[in-house]
C-alpha cells in the first residue's frame, strides 16, 4: 500500500522502523527511563483550506473521478438526489452542461477542509479505499490546520505511536512543531538537528536530555527520511 | 545631530527570525514624528537611526537572528519592561542616546 503522509499508517510504519532500527535502539538506551521521554509531533499549516479534492495526488483523485464518470446514469442521478445542501449549492455555481459534470466539478473543487459537508457514506463507497480512509482521517485528526502525533519512547523502544483525536487531553515532555512543508523536507532527507537549530522546526522540552542523546535524535530524523513516502499535499 | 551626514535606507523591515512587529506602521510613524520634533531633528534622520539600531548589517534583507539581541532580536519578546515592538524600542534607545 502507498505510504501516505500524514496518516495513521505512516506513523505505524515509523514506529515499526524505529523498533527495527538497531542504531536507534542502542543510541536511545536509557531514554525516558529516569524522565518522561514522550514526544508529540505537531504538523502545522496543513493546506486543508487551500487544497481541493482535485489537487490531491492523481492516484487518489483521478481514480475517483474516473469512477464517477463511468457509473451508470441511474447511479449518478441517485447520488445527485442524495447530495447534501452544501454540495447542491456548490453545483449551482458550476456552469456545465450535464448534471453529472456539474456534480463532479463541484465535488472536486471542494476544499479538503469542507469535504465532510459534501460527502456521505454512499458517496464514499464509490471512492478508492485509500481516499475514503484518508478523508476520514483528515476529518478526525486535523484540528484547525494541525495534526498531532504522540510517541511513547522508552529505553530504546517506541512503545506506542498514535495520531491524536483529542490533542488537548494529551501532554508530552517533548513537542516538535513545524509546518507541514518542513516535515516533508525532513522525510525527504533533511537533517533534523539542523532543522531545529535553524528554527525550521521548534523543539520544546528539556534540551539537556536531548543533548545527552544526540545520535538518537539524529536517528529519529533519519528513520523518517528512509520511509518510502507519498505526500498527500 | 544624528544621521544627517549619511543617506540611509529608511525602510523598517521585520527581521527574519528577529522580534515581531507588534505596533502598527501608523503608530511607529507618529512616534518617529514626535521624537523628531522633541529632538529637533528631521523625521528622516530619526528613522534612519532607528533602522540602523535595529540592524547594522550590510545585508539587503537584514540577517536572520538579528545582531541587536535585546532591541530587535527575539529576546525583546520576553522583555516585560519593553515597548514590545523593535521599532519603538530602537526609537526609545535613540531618544535616550540623544539625551546622554
Amino acid at each position: 500500500m502507498t505510504n501516505w503522509f500524514p496518516s495513521r499508517e505512516w506513523l505505524g510504519t515509523y514506529r515499526d522502523r524505529l523498533n527495527e532500527n538497531e542504531t536507534y535502539g542502542e543510541q536511545s538506551e536509557g531514554w525516558g527511563v529516569d524522565f518522561d521521554g514522550s514526544f508529540v509531533f505537531e504538523i502545522t499549516e496543513l493546506p486543508v483550506a487551500e487544497t481541493t479534492l482535485d489537487d490531491l495526488p492523481t492516484e487518489l483523485s483521478e481514480t475517483f473521478r474516473e469512477r464517477l464518470e463511468s457509473v451508470s446514469e441511474s447511479r449518478i442521478e441517485q447520488l445527485i438526489d442524495d447530495a447534501p445542501p452544501e454540495l447542491t449549492e456548490r453545483m449551482d455555481d458550476v456552469s456545465a452542461d450535464s448534471p453529472r459534470e456539474r456534480f463532479i466539478t463541484a465535488l472536486f473543487e471542494t476544499e479538503i477542509e469542507a469535504m465532510p459537508a459534501v460527502t456521505w457514506p454512499d458517496l464514499c463507497a464509490e471512492m478508492p479505499d485509500d481516499l475514503d480512509n484518508l478523508l476520514d482521517q483528515l476529518e478526525r485528526y486535523v484540528h484547525e490546520d494541525t495534526v498531532y502525533a504522540y510517541l511513547d519512547l522508552y529505553d530504546g523502544e517506541c512503545r506506542t505511536a498514535e495520531v491524536l483525536e483529542e490533542p488537548d487531553g494529551t501532554s508530552a515532555a517533548f513537542v516538535l512543531t513545524a509546518p507541514y512543508t518542513k516535515w516533508t523536507e525532513l522525510i525527504d532527507g533533511a537533517d533534523v538537528i539542523e532543522a531545529v537549530m535553524s528554527q525550521d522546526m521548534d523543539l520544546d522540552g528539556d534540551i539537556t536530555s536531548v543533548i545527552v542523546y544526540p545520535e538518537a535524535a539524529q536517528e529519529m530524523g533519519d528513520t523518517a527520511g528512509r520511509i518510502e513516502t507519498t505526500f498527500l499535499f | 545631530m544624528g544621521g544627517s551626514e549619511m543617506a540611509l535606507d529608511r525602510e523598517l523591515r521585520e527581521l527574519a527570525r528577529g522580534a515581531e512587529f507588534t505596533a502598527t506602521d501608523e503608530e511607529v510613524d507618529r512616534a518617529i514624528e514626535e521624537a523628531a520634533e522633541e529632538l529637533g531633528e528631521s523625521p528622516e534622520s530619526v528613522r534612519e537611526n532607528v533602522a540602523y539600531i535595529m540592524d547594522s548589517t550590510f545585508e539587503e534583507e537584514g540577517v536572520s537572528t538579528s545582531f541587536n539581541e535585546m532591541v530587535s532580536g527575539t529576546s525583546l519578546e520576553d522583555d516585560v519592561s519593553s515597548t514590545g515592538d523593535p521599532r519603538l524600542e530602537a526609537l526609545e534607545m535613540y531618544k535616550l542616546r540623544q539625551r546622554i
Binding site: I207 | E5, N49, T57, T65, F67, G73, S75, S81
Partner: protein, 348 residues
Amino acid sequence: MSQVLQSQYSGQRVDTGSKWYTLFQKGVELGTWNVEKLFDEIGFEQDRASWEALSQDERDQIRYLISGFLDGEREVAGDAATNLQRIMGAPCLDENTEKEMYMTMLTLTEHKHTQFLDVYMQEVMDDQDNYNDLDPRRGTRIPVVQATGLGEVFEHQGLLTAKAANTLNPVDIAKAATNYHLNVEGILARVGASAISRFPERADFPLLNYAFKFVSTDEGRHITHGIELLKELIEKEEAGNPQFQGVKQGIVETLYQDVPYMADFGYMFTDALDDPLGLDFNEVLMRGGNLIDGMYNETLGLDIDYMEVLNVVRDRYLEINEWDIKQRVHEQEQHYQRKRGVAADGGV
C-alpha cells in the same frame, strides 16, 4: 539595513565609501553614549530596591551572569586595543585605514561596557571581592568565571588574538575573529543578554536593562564587523588565493573548540544554581544553537557539523553536571586568598 548607506563627503586618505567607514561613523553617532550620564538619567534607586528584595540565590544568579560580562568586557577591551588593532593593519586585509578607524570605536565601546559593569556591580550589587588587586592583566578573573569554562573561552581569545597579531596570517586572523566576534560577542554576549530580557517582573532593573540595550546595540556593530571581516577572508580563500587556504576550516574548528565551554556560561547562571529566576537553561541552549546557525551557516554559508557540536557539548555537560558550583567558586576564592597571602608576605 542596505548598502545604500553612503557618506556625502569624500577625502583622499579615508575612503568614505568603505563599509568600515560607515561602521566607524555610526559608532561615533550611536556608540558614544555617556555611561555617567546614563547613571544620572536613570539612577540606581530602582535597581538597588529590586536587588534588596531578591533572595540570596536569586542574587547569586544575577551576580554570576553579570560577572561573566564584567570579565568578558574587560578581556575584549584589552584584546581589541592591542591585538585586534594590530590585526586591522595586516597586509592581507583590504581597507586597512578604515578598519583601524573602526577598531578604535570598538575598543572605546568595550571600555565603556567595562566601565558600566564595574561601577554598576559596586553601586547596586553590594560589594563583592573581585580580587582586582591580584592584577587582572595577568589573568585574575572573577572566581566564578575562572572556576568555569568561561575562563577557557577568554583564555583562548587571548591566545588566538595574540597569535594573529603576531603572524598577521589570514587563517590565524580568521580563528581570532571567530572566537572574538562570533563566539564571545555573537553567542556568549547575546545569550547572556537574552537572559537579561527574561528577568521576571520582580527582578526589575531599569538601569541594567537600558545599559544592556546600549551594549546590545554596540555589539550589533561589533558582530557586523566580525562577519564582514570573515566574509572578506572567505571570499579570498574561495578565489583561490593560496595564502588564504584553510580559512573556513579554521573558523569551523574554532567553534568546535569553544562551544563546550560556551555552554558552561549558560549553565553557571541557570541550572548550577537551580535557577530561581527562571532564566531557563533550555532557552539558553536553544538560543545559542539558533545563533550558531544564523551566523555560521546562514550568514557565512559554512556547513557546521551539528553532531560534532552536540557531541562536544554533551561530553562537557555530563562533566559539569556533576559539579557543586558553589564549592568550586569557594575553592577558587581560597586559591586567590592564598595568592594574596603570598603577595602580602613579600612573595612574587
